[in-house]
Symmetry: C2
Subunit: 203 residues, 2 copies
DNA sequence: TGTACATCAGTGAACGCGCGTTCACTGATGTAC
DNA sequence: TGTACATCAGTGAACGCGCGTTCACTGATGTAC
């Protein structure tokens, strides 16, 4: 692809170059210089669009949280067809996101980025979590009040389990496993929901 | 502490210097040069004890898995007093380890180390997992065979949930939470065990 | 017990490298007249 | 429609830095006689 002196959309091209680098070599493998090179541009050009290396990385993560929040929202689908099915779908969406967008995922969760330093990032991350919280809240209403854990506790449980399955069994820090990550997560959540009293005790 | 030309136990001193660096600044913050400096020694001296930076880091992780495996074994205590209590104790041990040995924990799980490149590492990691598997197996025997998930599936669930709680709520990539990580994990495992049919449905 | 000597843990200087960042600049674009 | 000019995206060279690693060396230790 040819281009003249001006690139056209260098900002997004840099984001995508960074994404490819991260997906291929891990968050450590990402450098400003290499992202610039992959976008066919001098490292100095990056500074026309970002204040520096960190801001480029943060933008990658931000776009990741955007996609993530949208996927969760789509999976939740306002609680349709049932609050239970919608809740299960959000759990699956977590894993599906990590599988389909590994560059984004790593920028978000494994790059050592401090959300506190990037206000926009924290905001869009909160949006994703809010969807989970709503799904859990909707689900919790089906429980008798006396034995109903707080909705945010339930969503914390599912985030933790989903995140753990991704880190250990999809991204591979836990050694090989005889099951697909999807099956591990599915059964874990199934047993958990039975424990909440939302699935019948028979398989 | 004074010392002469020879250090005495430089190898272990380097491991401990690395540990302190990692605990303080994260696995990225660790460099061979700084570890050497912290041990009051020239960077070149490191090469008398390790083949290079990676092997030093791997040794830190190896010692971590050693401690971890011992803690799990201690918590499991051959299934005493009951298989259920022993199983719950191993879950708690995971979190306790991450809290008490943050440097080891990060070297093991967040340093980007490839266990495949360090045979000794994979071996001792397998030992830790084996303890979890035994705990799960012991527990599973209390279940009627028809509705008993494979023991390794159960231990995968608990590893994942424990790991997720540590990453998100102890190490802080999931935003602030109104509960202590210990409480999140405890309730998650409680609900899960009820789902397995091992705890009565009343609180 | 005293001395010669082999061993080897640590030194200090140097290396090449790639990193993030800066700076004065240049060339393309698009707008005002 | 044609030209002058302001804007600004990208260049290219340079910087200082800290990294991991190497090498010839030196000084402490401990053992053989």
């Amino acid at each position: 692809m040819k281009r003249g002196y001006h690139h056209g959309n260098l900002r997004q091209a840099l984001v995508e170059a960074a994404l490819a680098l991260i997906a291929e070599r891990g968050p450590q493998g990402f450098t400003l210089s290499e992202a610039a090179k992959a976008a066919d541009v001098t490292p100095a050009a990056v500074y026309r669009h970002f204040t520096g290396r960190d801001e480029l990385l943060a933008e990658v993560a931000r776009q990741g949280f955007d996609i993530f929040a949208a996927l969760l929202e789509f999976a939740y689908d306002e609680g349709r067809p049932t609050s239970l099915a919608a809740f299960e779908a959000t759990g699956r969406a977590y894993l599906a996101f990590a599988r389909k967008y590994p560059g984004h995922y790593q920028a978000m969760f494994e790059s050592g980025l401090q959300p506190g330093n990037h206000p926009g990032l924290a905001q869009v991350a909160a949006k994703a979590r809010d969807t989970m919280d709503r799904a859990a809240d909707h689900l919790a209403r089906a429980l008798p009040e006396t034995r109903r854990p707080p909705a945010r506790m339930i969503s914390a449980h599912v985030w933790a389990t989903s995140h753990g399955v991704v880190e250990l069994y999809l991204r591979g820090n836990g050694g090989p496993q005889p099951w697909a990550p999807e099956d591990i997560l599915e059964t874990a959540i199934g047993i958990y929901l039975r424990g909440l009293g939302l699935l019948s005790p028979d398989k």
